[in-house]
């Protein structure tokens, strides 16, 4: 690391660009969640089911996030793996009110974590227990038990309850992710 980089780092001017992958089942609120991070004028008023993927950019502190918003529909889930190799963070969104499909979500999560491009890397995984405002929503603790998150040992992970429409809980999650990414990046040097 050059002397200028160090200086800039100390002064908090250093900038990082990272790619994060936003995945989860369909209708869990991925696109809505990312829509919240966009600037006022570029926010879209209606969210339609994503086909394939979308790229969104947002900023937190001095980290520029390039988020690949993947489609959650069953037939497109197999396409996620094309983006595993070059992501530095994963955001997994879960619909907390959709108890029936927790098993499906767990299944997809397991496949993701066992993928060769992911399994051996210590990349941070952030879980959003989305739709916390819905009456029958489960708590974050219960969801983490349902998905068996405590078994993830080689990756830092964090779960937080969120409401993508109002933006509640999102900031907290992303701040955790930013911190993790700094750590991850620094360790790699």
């Amino acid at each position: 690391m050059g002397i200028f980089d160090k200086l800039a780092g100390l002064l908090g001017l250093r900038r990082r660009e990272v790619n994060v992958l936003v995945v989860g089942l369909d209708n869990s609120g991925k696109s809505t969640l990312l829509n919240h991070f966009k600037s006022e004028e570029s926010k879209s008023s209606e969210i339609v089911p994503t086909i394939g993927f979308n790229v969104e950019k947002f900023q937190n502190k001095n980290v520029g996030f390039t988020a690949f918003d993947m489609s959650g529909q069953g037939r497109y889930r197999s396409l996620w793996e094309h983006y595993y190799r070059d992501c530095q963070g994963i955001i997994f969104v879960i619909d907390s009110s959709d108890k029936l499909r927790f098993v499906v979500a767990k299944d997809e999560l397991d496949t993701l974590l066992q993928h060769p491009d992911i399994a051996n890397r210590r990349i941070p995984v952030l879980f959003f227990a989305n739709k916390m405002d819905v009456k029958e929503a489960m708590s974050a603790v219960k969801i983490s038990a349902a998905l068996g998150l405590d078994r993830i040992s080689n990756k830092p992970w964090h779960i937080c309850a969120s409401n993508a429409i109002t933006g509640e809980g999102l900031q907290e999650g992303v701040e955790w992710l930013t911190g993790q990414i700094w750590e991850y990046v620094d360790r790699r040097r």
Partner: protein
């Protein structure tokens, strides 16, 4: 950095193309840069260009490679760089056909297409429509409809053009967009209007009434866009052509009014359309021609070229109309653009009088070396038609052609010249000697093997009949010494022809052939040995059969027959008579009267005939009922004969396939009723006495729109007279089931029997006879001795050419030595005819015709079988 280095290399390297030495693997390696978390737009643009370059050079990408690259490209969507984004669109479009899961970019493209960045929108629409399929399209319909009526012209155009392309796959969906397209048609932008008209026409194309309405509405409204008007002219011209009385059509008036349009583009399109109408007369063409005449003196080269090219075309059909432009065309001869000059000259050659030929030839000679081969061919073809028109000028033209032959040029060009000379030789006996001399000089220095072989073959055929055959021997033998194997082989065959024809040359040629037997090539040696043995045996019959007459069997059929012969273990020798004969129809089609120019378009279809015969044999072997009969080799397939009117419920045509012992009738049945399903369709024949029905093959199911074949097989009667004149009544029998017109599923399992009376199938003499050419009629005539002679007065013909045609048609024999051409003004003529009767019996006939109060005919028939000869003489009259 990378970009800079590339630039440096470009400057220092000799290769001007920076992409010249790209390797696919290296480029794909580089493409990994797309996966970086921080994208360098410049570098990525460069790499993408390389990928696109490779794709467009025809480099093959495997599915995995393509998919990998495609997904890497999708990651570039994170960059906001407009140049890179446009390259991404191109990359997506190019790879979409090879890569898998291209659907992944749908959302990203939809976002770009509806987004605020105008620059992206058109390109995004194009890319999006390439990757979607019919099922996805419905979800995108809303956006595309909006895009069609977008206020930005390029977005609207992109959407329109894409919908045009989509109509092939999902036409029904696009039809629902008509109102949006209509709106786009009123756009102020020239391109949008043009594209909208294109889409609208494409949607309605199938519905004639709707098209007529569309055109008549639009011809009244004055469209701004010259492109749209041009398209409208094309559509209108098509409608005019389909009408029975084209010139009364209101659309024709529209075409004429467009000749006074203010845009040159429209004027030209209108003139072009009028000239190309099917049934126009000189009166209608004249205004169009005069417009083109004005264009000839335009300062714009494109316009001059267009005008002269169109005039060149009309010159064939309406030479007199074009004559008015001759002055302007003369001026164009010296045009600095060589293409224009060439076309002008060839047009003049077509319209010009005999007196101006010498002058024009001089003009052409002055610049012929400057034009490209392609145009030289045009010139040569013009000269060819000229030769046919003015046979007396052959000396000038021939010397010009031989000068051309000596020039540098590609194979196509040389072949065109050689073709022309050969045609002239065949058409004009006076030119034969000079033509052959030119050609034999040409092969002295000819680098094209194909041409040399052709010319040697021609020399072998024509040379012996000239006054001094010995002078060609030197040319031919030179080939044997100097050329490569295929040419040597052809030269040996040519020598043998000379020897067989001219007994006084025989001893000398035998010496030459003896030398050829030492050749290093197998084929040459084989030929030389064969010919040497044949010729030294002194047996006229042998030489006639193997040297002078060429192979009559169709080569394809022979190959097939030999193949199947080798497969089955048999001791019986191979019988060449079972092999289908080569049809000579393609030769007959050459126009008997010299009609310049049309030559190019006429032959083509009938040349497939031998292939058809072979394919029918294939068909037979696929139908178990027919294959069981062991029909043997096909003798002849007659032309199709309709058994119904063309617009009835069931359309049936029959084809007679003649085998040595059987007659196979093939019925091609088409069901034109969408609400009926026919089952068990067969043809019941009213079999005449003597014939015996052997097999009937029915069509199990005949749905709407897919024609199928039913067959009947009859055995020929013993008595030839019965066999050569019979009428067979036919009835189509079938079970009808009503069905749903859309799905084709029958409403119930119950059907009812029905029948449909067809027209009779006629069997006549010519079905038994297959016309073949004899290159040496006289020699063949001497061989056969069984002869019948008869004299008739022909009542149905008044002129000799008419009588000749009738005889040839009736007998099915093929005229030899071009004796079917009757010189004008002669009161008597002799025709030599040759053919083979069913079962391989050779027939030769001489017909002497004398004009006196109608036409008198003396027909002498020689055949290997007495009965056949008698049958033929008996059936004429």
């Amino acid at each position: 950095m990378n970009f800079k280095r590339d630039k440096k290399e470009e400057e220092s390297g000799e290769a001007s193309n920076p992409f010249g030495n790209l390797e696919k693997t290296t480029v794909l390696q580089e493409a990994r840069a797309f996966n970086d978390s921080v994208i360098n737009p410049r570098k990525c643009t460069m790499i993408l260009s390389k990928v696109l370059y490779l794709l467009n050079q025809g480099e093959v990408f495997g599915t995995t490679e393509a998919t990998e690259t495609f997904f890497a490209i999708t990651k570039l969507f994170q960059s906001k760089d407009p140049i890179l984004r446009r390259m991404v669109y191109l990359g997506i479009k190019e790879l979409s056909h090879i890569a898998e899961d291209v659907i992944i970019v749908t959302s990203s493209l939809t976002k770009d297409m509806t987004g605020k960045e105008d620059l992206y929108r058109g390109a995004a629409i194009r890319a999006l429509c390439t990757i979607t399929d019919a099922s996805m399209l419905q979800a995108l319909e809303r956006y595309l409809k909006q895009a069609i009526v977008d206020k930005l012209p390029h977005v609207s155009s992109a959407a329109l053009v894409r919908s045009y392309h989509l109509t092939s796959g999902s036409g029904e969906l696009i039809k629902r967009w008509v109102s949006e397209v209509q709106e786009a048609l009123n756009s102020d932008n020239v391109m949008v209007q043009y594209h909208a008209l294109g889409v609208l026409y494409h949607i309605r194309k199938a519905d004639r009434l709707a098209v007529t309405k569309l055109v008549s509405r639009l011809t009244k409204s004055h469209m701004k866009s010259p492109f749209a008007v041009s398209l409208l002219i094309r559509i209108a011209a098509k409608l005019v052509d389909e009408e029975e009385k084209p010139l009364d059509s209101p659309f024709f008036d529209f075409l004429e009014s467009c000749l006074r349009h203010k845009s040159e583009l429209v004027i030209f399109e209108a003139a072009h359309a009028i000239i190309n109408l099917k049934n126009v007369t000189a009166r209608e063409i004249n205004p169009a021609v005069s417009v083109l005449q004005l264009f000839c003196s335009s300062p714009k080269p494109a316009l001059r070229f267009a005008a002269v090219r169109t005039l060149n075309k009309v010159a064939i059909s309406h030479p007199t109309s074009v004559t008015n432009c001759n002055v302007d065309l003369e001026n164009l001869i010296t045009d600095s653009n060589r293409s224009i000059a060439t076309l002008a000259i060839t047009t003049l050659l077509k319209t010009g009088a005999e007196s101006s030929i010498d002058r024009l030839m001089k003009q052409i000679a002055s610049f012929v070396s400057e034009i490209s081969d392609e145009f030289k061919v045009v010139v040569v073809q013009a000269i060819k038609s000229l030769c046919l028109k003015f046979p007396r000028k052959h000396a000038t033209l021939m010397s010009f052609l031989s000068a051309l032959l000596r020039d540098e040029g590609g194979l196509d060009y040389k072949a065109a010249i050689a073709d022309t000379i050969i045609t002239i030789i065949e058409e004009n006996p006076e030119a034969k000697e000079t033509g052959l001399a030119h050609l034999s000089e040409f092969i002295e220095d000819c680098e094209h093997t194909v041409l040399a072989v052709r010319i040697l073959n021609l020399l072998g055929k024509e040379g012996p009949k000239t006054k001094q055959p010995s002078k060609y021997i030197r040319y031919i033998y030179n080939r044997v010494i100097l050329e490569q194997a295929p040419v040597r082989a052809a030269a040996v065959s040519a020598l043998a022809q000379f020897a067989a024809h001219c007994p006084n040359l025989l001893p000398n040629i035998l010496v030459l052939l003896m030398r050829c037997q030492m050749d290093s090539d197998d084929e040459v040696r084989d030929r030389a040995t064969l010919y040497f043995q044949l010729l030294s045996s002194g047996d006229r019959a042998l030489t006639n059969q193997f040297i002078l007459n060429n192979l009559q069997q169709s080569v394809l059929a022979l190959e097939k027959a030999l193949g199947s012969y080798l497969q089955g273990p048999t001791d019986a020798p191979f019988d060449i008579k079972t092999v289908a004969l080569a049809s000579v129809t393609s030769d007959e089609l050459k126009p008997t009267v010299a009609t310049p120019g049309i030559l190019k378009t006429k032959p083509a279809e009938p040349k497939k005939a031998p292939v058809k015969e072979v394919s029918f044999l294939d068909e037979v072997s696929n139908i178990p009922d027919l294959a069981r009969l062991q029909l043997g080799g096909l003798f002849k397939t007659c032309t199709k004969q309709p058994l119904t009117e063309s617009e009835t419920e069931y359309v049936v045509t029959s084809t007679k396939h003649v085998f040595s012992q059987h007659l196979v009738l093939q019925f091609h049945v088409q069901n034109t009723l969408p609400d009926q399903l026919l089952e068990n369709v067969k043809v019941q024949l009213d079999v005449p006495d003597g014939f015996r029905q052997v097999a009937v093959v029915a069509i199990p199911k005949l749905p709407y729109g897919t024609p199928a074949n039913a067959y009947c097989v009859l055995a020929w009667p013993e008595d030839l007279e019965v066999a050569s004149g019979a009428t067979i009544g036919a009835t189509l029998k079938f079970i009808v089931k009503d069905c749903d017109p859309d799905t084709g599923v029958p409403d119930s399992d119950e059907g009812y029997d029905d029948e449909y009376v067809l027209e009779d199938v006629d069997v006549n003499l010519s079905d038994h006879i297959f016309g073949v050419t004899r290159s040496n009629f006289a020699a063949a005539w001497e061989e056969i001795t069984t002869e019948r002679e008869e004299t008739y007065a022909l009542s149905n013909a008044n002129t000799i050419p008419e009588a000749v045609k009738n005889i040839v048609d009736f007998l099915g024999l093929h005229p030899c030595d071009r004796s079917d051409r009757v010189p004008e003004g002669k009161s008597s003529h002799a025709v030599a005819l040759a053919g083979v009767f069913r079962g391989g019996i050779e027939i030769l006939a001489r017909a002497k015709l004398v004009l006196s109060d109608g036409v008198n005919l003396q027909l002498t028939v020689r055949a290997q079988d007495e009965l056949v000869a008698e049958l033929i003489t008996a059936s004429v009259g």
